[in-house]
Symmetry: C2
Subunit: 205 residues, 2 copies
């Protein structure tokens, strides 16, 4: 399956991810990426056609890297507050490895680059679905399954992931205090717990 050139393509994608992480979308130029990966700049256009297509390939790489991990961790989840706790852990992993920076930078670019919009939506939909499916499974056959809007909740949680990253990045590395993130997710967890406890269960049939 491995064709000649695949190794180079992988190197280019890796350098693109690194550039997006370290220098953001503003610094992810063809020249900067090539310099970082120590290969010739023209190779980007030979292998990917355009810089935009390389950046999208980088997002794809990230997605496949993380999809397994997410599925695996979320499978153990059986209650909603548990989901929030595991989501907090996954969020921390992604923050540490810079994944969310890459995604938020690409999302910001997609906000005004219309050619990026549809491709980025395609790449995010599966992630929202993973969260949504987990929510539905966590609710199981409890009476709340029909009351909680799973898709909207999944959408909100995913949005929170991205928003938190942008704000946490504002803090200085030296003074950064991770407790804020944990607190946020713990807060969300107890809110969900409370909501489920106090929601009037639908009338029995």
């Amino acid at each position: 399956m491995a064709r000649p050139g695949d190794q180079t393509k992988a190197r280019i994608v890796a350098a693109a991810l690194e550039s997006l992480h370290e220098e953001g979308i503003l610094g992810a130029s063809a020249r900067a990426i090539a310099k970082r990966g120590d290969f010739n700049q023209g190779l980007i256009f030979y292998h990917f056609g355009s810089l935009t297509d390389l950046l999208l390939a980088a997002v794809d790489e990230l997605s496949t890297q993380r999809a397994d991990r997410y599925e695996q961790r979320l499978e153990e989840v059986s209650t909603l507050p548990e989901l929030v706790r595991v989501a907090g852990e996954l969020h921390r992993e992604d923050m540490e490895q810079g994944h969310i920076t890459v995604l938020s930078q690409m999302l910001a670019a997609a906000a005004t680059d219309h050619t990026l919009r549809a491709p980025m939506r395609e790449r995010f939909d599966p992630w929202i679905e993973i969260v949504e499916r987990t929510i539905v499974r966590a609710l199981g056959d409890t009476p709340y399954a029909q009351v909680v809007p799973a898709h909207d909740l999944a959408f909100a949680i995913t949005s929170l992931f991205i928003g938190l990253e942008l704000f946490l990045n504002l803090e200085d590395e030296t003074e950064r205090d991770d407790s804020g993130v944990f607190t946020t997710f713990e807060l969300l967890g107890s809110m969900l717990q409370a909501m489920l406890t106090s929601l009037p269960p639908p009338a029995p049939a």
Copy 2:
């Protein structure tokens, strides 16, 4: 107080805001801004010194524009779920007028441009404080005042504002459905309501 040149400075700032909104940080170049405002490109550097300083001045303009409106609307708020409802309305206003696009684009830029970090943090802190003060006021002297982490909640709500904007921008204008936003804030409102109802009130002194 109005010095000569102030009118031009205002025009430049207005054009910068427009550019950030329409073309994002990637399209907010000195030349593009000058073309949009129909003034000479050199004026940006004469009046603001650098493009970065102009963009920060644009964020300042936005902040002062909106601060009054926020204070005014949030003053009427006296319960936490009410806060969430009003926050949802303010979010809609900001979305419609493109303010959040401007902020999210600048936040994305600040993530990797270290010279933007401290200035952007300075400009966001007051906003988080406004939300935090409102939360504290809404909790008033209820027994929950000591249990709810007001700062973290304010931080999370503000992050959600930004994250939602980036995601909602992915949808096509034609197919965009605002109900998602409202649902998200209504959801948050009922979660808060539920949390307050079910939280064990602290033991009386």
